[in-house]
Symmetry: C2
Subunit: 258 residues, 2 copies
DNA sequence: AACTGTAGCTAGACGCTGTAGACCTACAGT
DNA sequence: ACTGTAGGTCTACAGCGTCTAGCTACAGTT
């Protein structure tokens, strides 16, 4: 019955039914375009061609609406909890998360900030889906519950941090030629920030994807070394070897209620 | 004519000169107390017992004022770039950062969010001080500039992420007895989030300090393994020993420029 | 002694914000 | 015909950030 979603609702496309999805999609579009703090209920309503007050039919208040936007981005993060290659799967999730963050940089503040104000159980379910799925992935791979949680925290913690780092370095004035100028580093007193200034070319050549992979290399190697093999001290030397993964055969853990 | 208008809301001694430090300190106090979004220019001014417009004498606008608050917190992060034990020094910085974040949880959104809107060179200098100092620490230890930058990014990325993770899990209703209730996990449909619910006790028993140390163990070990000569660095495993750390007589590059 | 400059602060206003409350309309079920 | 409900609108209010103008107190100059 529904005609295709007809998403491009930017300038008052009227007469469309205003569903929650449309509201959130439009909000996301506006945020992508102008940033979070330029989004007001009235602007959003104007983009929908409606009265501001309809919005409150789909979100209790503005904060809830922003939670919804964060959720719509985060539900795109698919985890396959049946993948036997847990490390590879985590890698893919990490790449996916990075991709989402780069696609919606203006939403990242919401992504990292909103959960700080909301207890776990009250967060939008779409936000918790990846957590649950990763836990399933890891427990099925043989990790204990607490270890699975530990790995989740380590990987996603690193992921949050990486994304924030990468986005921070993205801000620049691309019209400038010299690296120093693009990054605004010329404003820094040379005497106080000699190294930072001298690293301008390196800063400008930041390769987020590679950096992410290297971090994951280290993290995953370290995690398996400390968690799965109880006695093995980590053998350093090589870093990237996504193919081999030590796996402990174990009967799949059933979902137990407490 | 008017004696100071009315009762100072906070502990503001009214007849005090309103300096930038006082403004920022009061703003920080208000944020610690009520959170960032309850801070308005008018409230802040009221806490100072003054007209809102004085604030613009010390900050160009509200965003700049928030930058100032973030800076006042961040300048407390001291790095000793002369410490020969670079890994130990990074550990201490990490612990310090975590301590600051826990002391001012409401400021953390500012800490991670504001740099996203400001190019490196335009950030408040206090914000960049730790970066420069860590770079000095690492280059003095023999790392190349790009490697130093890489290590900085890895450690601080992890640090950002860890702090966000830890603060997220802090939110709860402590009046509830059961872990499930405290975290609000009882609201989640059991069928969809079995693992998450079953891990309530583990979630509740989160030990942020230990988690940070373990992450640093992995990260620092992995970094030294991949970046320097394959000579073994300090052993991971157990963490807390801020006093002394094994030192590596490093050869490659000693850039002692000044 | 009067004049000017300036630093610190205040008063008022403007346009914008989030959202409460009343109200309207169209339609479904009884 | 009556009632309930979902969707939508209008008006209004308190609060927001910040612009402009102005006040006071004092320094230095003439």
């Amino acid at each position: 019955m529904n005609p295709p979603p007809s998403a491009p609702v930017d300038d008052a496309a009227v007469s469309n039914k205003v569903t929650r999805e449309v509201v959130l999609a439009t909000a996301l579009a506006l945020i992508d375009l102008e940033g979070v703090d330029r989004l007001s209920m009235r602007r959003l309503a104007a983009a929908l061609g409606r009265d501001p007050m309809i919005l409150y039919r789909h979100a209790a208040n503005k904060a809830a609406l922003l939670d919804g936007v964060a959720e719509t981005v985060l539900v795109q993060l698919k985890v396959d909890p049946t993948d036997p290659d847990w490390a590879g799967q985590l890698r893919m999730v990490a790449r996916d998360y990075r991709r989402l963050a780069l696609a919606h940089p203006n939403v990242v503040p919401l992504l990292v900030t909103r959960p700080l104000a909301t207890p776990l159980g009250l967060r939008p379910p779409g936000t918790l889906r990846p957590l649950e799925d990763v836990l399933k992935l890891l427990t099925d791979a043989g990790f204990s519950g607490p270890d699975a949680l530990h790995i989740y925290r380590a990987v996603f913690g690193f992921l949050y941090g990486h994304v924030l780092n990468e986005l921070q370095e993205l801000i620049e004035r691309p019209d400038e030629v010299s690296d120093l100028l693009r990054l605004g580093l010329h404003r820094l007193p040379i005497a106080e920030f000699p190294l930072l200034r001298s690293l301008a070319p390196t800063l400008a050549a930041y390769d987020g994807a590679a950096e992410l992979e290297r971090g994951l290399d280290i993290l995953l190697a370290g995690l398996t070394a400390t968690l799965t093999a109880p006695s093995a001290a980590h053998p350093p030397g090589h870093a990237a070897d996504p193919a081999k993964r030590p796996r402990r055969p174990q009967s799949p853990r059933r979902s137990d209620s407490r």
